[in-house]
């Protein structure tokens, strides 16, 4: 057994006096995908933030590849191979699209790797190439998301964390992104994905982590997730578990 890429032990975290997580433990093994699901305000984003060092846990430990990283700065997490695409608009508004990408690639790929990585990103998302010299702050909402995702997907990190992965993406792009994620995963990159579109996430995931009010209420492979714990989350989930295939497949 190899060491898990990420393991969290009894995490507690919060914002000021407000507690958002109450003792969360889980692992993400190398090359596997974990879907983090739960209702609004359950603490999914907080877990993602703790796992990339943005929020320091108030108790518990975060280990990356077996090394204790609790309390380290986010850039040290990045060096250790964790790439986090935060929710919402997570781009440098005052830099151009290309500068945004350059900044991301320069740190981990070095001066030489940048050109190739840029080409790859533009090939992956032609839209970005069209908007290359535009300031990222003026991109449309979806384009900003694409930029955020392109940054982490090109890097092929040890662990890719994506918060609200498909938020604001048109169906076509969402499908495309999941297709690429499959590939990345096959290449040995572990995934931790927060997603509201359950159908997509469950199709990709090896393990599901169900969060409610800052606690893990279910952890296991999607198949084992019984109707009861799913309906704890929402009716729609149990529906999607039973038969509803994703919209795209329906229409094709």
């Amino acid at each position: 057994m190899s060491v898990p890429v990420l393991s969290c032990e009894d995490l507690e975290a919060g914002y000021g006096p407000f507690r958002a997580l109450f003792g969360i433990s889980f692992e993400v093994a190398e090359g596997t995908a974990t879907a983090l699901i739960g209702p609004n305000g359950a603490g999914k984003s907080t877990v993602a933030r703790v796992a990339s060092g943005l929020v320091a846990p108030s108790a518990g430990r975060v280990l990356v590849k077996g090394v204790d990283m609790t309390g380290k700065a986010p850039h040290e997490f990045a060096e250790a191979g964790i790439a986090h695409a935060p929710e919402g608009r997570a781009v440098f508004a005052s830099l151009t699209v290309e500068e945004n990408l350059e900044l991301a690639f320069r740190e981990s790929l070095g001066r030489k790797g940048v050109a190739a990585a840029l080409d790859e990103a533009y090939e992956m998302f032609p839209r970005l190439k069209e908007r290359r010299t535009q300031l990222a702050g003026t991109l449309s909402g979806g384009e900003q998301r694409i930029l955020t995702l392109a940054r982490v997907m090109i890097l092929r990190p040890a662990l890719l964390i994506a918060d609200e992965l498909s938020l604001g993406l048109a169906p076509m792009i969402t499908t495309e992104v999941y297709r690429i994620l499959e590939k990345i995963k096959a290449a040995g990159c572990a995934l931790l994905i927060v997603e509201q579109h359950m159908d997509y996430a469950l199709a990709l995931a090896d393990e599901v982590l169900l969060l409610r009010q800052g606690e893990v209420t279910f952890r296991g492979p999607p198949g084992e997730m019984d109707r009861r714990s799913a309906s704890l989350l929402s009716e729609s989930l149990s529906e999607s578990l039973s038969e509803n295939p994703p919209q795209q497949e329906q229409s094709s």
Binding site: L54, A78, F92, E102, L103, R106, R151
Partner: protein, 688 residues
């Protein structure tokens, strides 16, 4: 024509001086997000070190310059970053600007404590001069630059080119820009934000050092205010560059230098136009640029996209505390005020009474800052000028018409409000930093162009303003005046509270946090902000009239110079921009602290005089303390107050109240819990 050209070329060295300062400001803003008015103070520090080493210690030129520019400059930058600005990275541009104001006030005073506050005349130049005309260039032509000018021009070119290359072609430049916008997102990208931010500060501080050492010989003596005024004159150039483009800033600065030289050469000397316009020109240009340069409003996009990671600011205590507590604290407030008045009435002697009164009157002016900055969210640096307008109007009305002083004060308030509205209409369209610059430009235009005019200020001798007489009470008695001032303060404070809690206050808060959203629900940003600005101007004008009446004359130099206004802003905002107590507290502190410190620091001297036979060690020790420390130390304390703004953007007073409220609540809760626990322990026993 040829003459104009010659004048223009003569303007180049001045333009380069402007460029050095303006580029330094832009560099700091780009790499740290701070519109760093303290740049002048940093420049002063290096210049002072250079002065001491080169002139007093007579070190060789190279080593003095090396220590002053390459060691002291970056070291100061590093210090500021570590203890101060790193904690401010996520704060708004307003918070950062106020902090830099605090530094602007405090740093020169610290330097003076180190090197002595005696005048440093004839600052040494950064070049070897034997005789200036040996260096004339080009020889024999009409256009002549001396060694100093050549050095300035060359340094400026090197700096501008270097920085342009840094930003355009290097990864460090890219990282610096990224870290300013969002240090967290930069960290997620693998950038070590701390290291980058330290590098930024060291670089910009080194540039400040270079600018200081180069510019100092332009003045007869080394003096922080001169450096700051020069910096403000260079601001127009930073606006040309939109606070981001270094080449444009450079071009703007050169243009400004040439314009100034051409006007100086071509306007007839002695004309009103020349005497007024020359010193005021840079500020006129700045104001005009702010209003007419397109594209200045788009700066608000710089919000940190990962700000949602921060916990929200604590809810103001006035909202969060329970009702019984607000009632009891209000009672305490009233009782304390009463007590203060009684003490002033019966105990204080004339000196201290005058200090308390000045403080209370200044409290009124401070409340105007509460309205415009705390409630309106606009950093106005012109409140001192608006107060001066109120004072001048009061004086002129009384002198010209003989109306009662009280009526004249109200007219003064109205005129100040009208001026405020006129200023607000163009200025409120601007964003944070630009708005502050607009008001600063106004303050300086007022000071350099209008104040010297006799129909404004009454000329060189300040106009007299009598004390009001209300019915049987002649306020010439200081004690009656104190009551009157306290009454005015109370009425205005109550009005400010109502505005803050009322619809206007809410609208302003909405506009501040999201202008687009506020517009989308039908709140007009411009209108509410103009109302707030006008109201604040009126309050300031009234306070100015009151201050003049108390002092007996409307004395601009003593009460209202723009630098004093900057100290007020730093003081009131660090005490709590939204809080009434903070305004009153800072008004009183402004006068009380220096006076008290003066007493404290002159105590050793008096003691030694009285005890001639004190042991020698004691004489030596006490002899160290100088009474003239009072002003520097209180300014340092005021400045330090502004630093705390970093930690408590809600203000010191507010933070203190907040923590005491929390403590009291915790205590009552614990008591309740104890009572509950004992009673619940009782219950099982009973049931058993």
């Amino acid at each position: 024509m040829v003459d104009l050209l010659e004048y223009a070329v003569r303007g180049i060295p001045t333009g380069c001086v402007f460029a050095l300062l303006a580029v330094g400001l832009v560099l700091t803003y780009k790499t740290s997000g701070v519109f760093n008015l303290a740049f002048a103070a940093q420049a002063y520090t290096s210049a002072a070190v250079f002065y001491v080493l080169r002139k007093e210690q007579e070190w060789p030129l190279f080593w003095s310059a090396f220590i002053a520019i390459v060691i002291v400059g970056p070291a100061l930058g590093l210090l500021l970053e570590r203890v101060l600005f790193r904690h401010l990275r996520g704060a708004g541009s307003l918070a950062k600007m106020v902090t830099s104001l605090g530094l602007l006030i405090a740093i020169p005073e610290v330097v003076k404590l180190f090197f002595g506050s005696d005048a440093k005349s004839n600052p040494p130049p950064l070049w070897y001069v034997r005789r200036t005309d040996e260096w004339l260039w080009p020889q024999g032509s009409k256009f002549v630059f001396d060694a100093g000018q050549v050095t300035t021009i060359l340094s400026t070119l090197v700096v501008v080119l270097g920085l342009t290359v840094l930003f355009r072609y290097t990864n460090l430049g890219l990282r610096m820009r990224a870290v300013v916008e969002s240090s967290r997102l930069a960290e997620l990208n693998g950038v070590n934000a701390e290291r980058v931010s330290m590098a930024s500060w060291m670089l910009s501080s080194m540039l400040a050092g270079l600018a200081g050492v180069l510019v100092a010989p332009l003045f007869a003596s080394l003096n922080p205010i001169d450096l700051f005024t020069l910096l403000v004159a260079a601001l127009a150039a930073t606006v040309v560059g939109g606070l981001s483009s270094i080449p444009l800033t450079f071009i703007g600065a050169i243009g400004l230098g040439m314009l100034q030289a051409v006007l100086a050469g071509s306007l007839p000397t002695n004309s009103v136009l020349a005497t007024g316009l020359r010193p005021g020109l840079p500020f006129l240009v700045l104001f005009a640029l702010l209003i007419f340069r397109p594209g200045l409003r788009s700066n608000s996009e710089m919000a940190d996209p990962l700000a949602t990671v921060d916990p929200p600011l604590p809810v103001p205590v006035a909202v969060s505390r329970p009702r019984w507590m607000s009632i009891s604290s209000r009672t305490v407030g009233v009782v304390a005020t009463m007590f203060g008045l009684l003490v002033s009435w019966f105990v204080l002697d004339g000196f201290w009474l005058a200090i308390v009164i000045s403080g209370v009157v200044l409290g009124v002016i401070m409340l105007s800052l509460t309205v415009v900055t705390g409630i309106g969210g606009m950093l106005s640096l012109a409140q001192a000028s608006l107060a001066a307008i109120g004072a001048f109007t009061t004086a002129q009305v009384v002198t010209a018409t003989g109306l009662p002083v009280l009526v004249a004060m109200l007219i003064g308030a109205a005129v100040a409000a009208a001026c405020g509205a006129l200023l607000a209409i163009p200025v409120v369209r601007l964003d944070g930093v630009y708005l502050a610059l607009g008001t600063l430009a106004f303050a300086l235009m007022f000071e350099s162009i209008l104040v010297p005019l006799s129909w404004v200020s009454g000329g060189s001798v300040p106009l007299a303003v009598p004390r009001p007489v209300i019915g049987p009470w002649d306020l010439a008695d200081d004690r009656y005046f104190l009551l009157f001032a306290a009454l005015c303060l109370t009425v205005i404070a109550l009005a400010v509270i109502r505005v803050r809690q009322g619809t206007t206050g809410r609208f302003l808060q909405a506009i501040q946090s999201s202008p687009t959203a506020a517009n989308s629900i039908g709140i007009s940003g411009g209108r509410s902000r103009i109302i707030a600005f006008t109201l604040a101007a009126g309050i300031a004008g009234f306070g100015g009239g009151l201050l003049a009446s108390f002092a007996g004359r409307a004395n601009y130099q003593a009460s209202f110079p723009y630098v004093v206004g900057l100290v007020w802003v730093a003081l009131v905002i660090s005490a709590g921009a939204r809080s009434i107590q903070a305004a009153v507290f800072s008004g009183i502190m402004f006068f009380l602290l220096p006076a008290t410190l003066n007493r404290v620091f002159s105590w050793p001297e008096n003691y030694l005089e009285a005890h001639q036979q004190a042991p020698e060690w004691m004489q030596n020790l006490l002899g160290l303390v100088q009474p003239n420390w009072a002003v520097p130390v209180s300014f340092i304390l005021f400045g330090i107050g502004a630093f705390t703004y970093a930690k408590h953007p809600e203000g010191i007073i507010e933070a203190q109240t907040n923590s005491s409220v929390t403590a009291v609540l915790l205590w009552t809760e614990r008591r309740k819990a104890k009572v509950d626990a004992t009673s619940s322990m009782d219950t099982p026993q009973v049931s058993a």
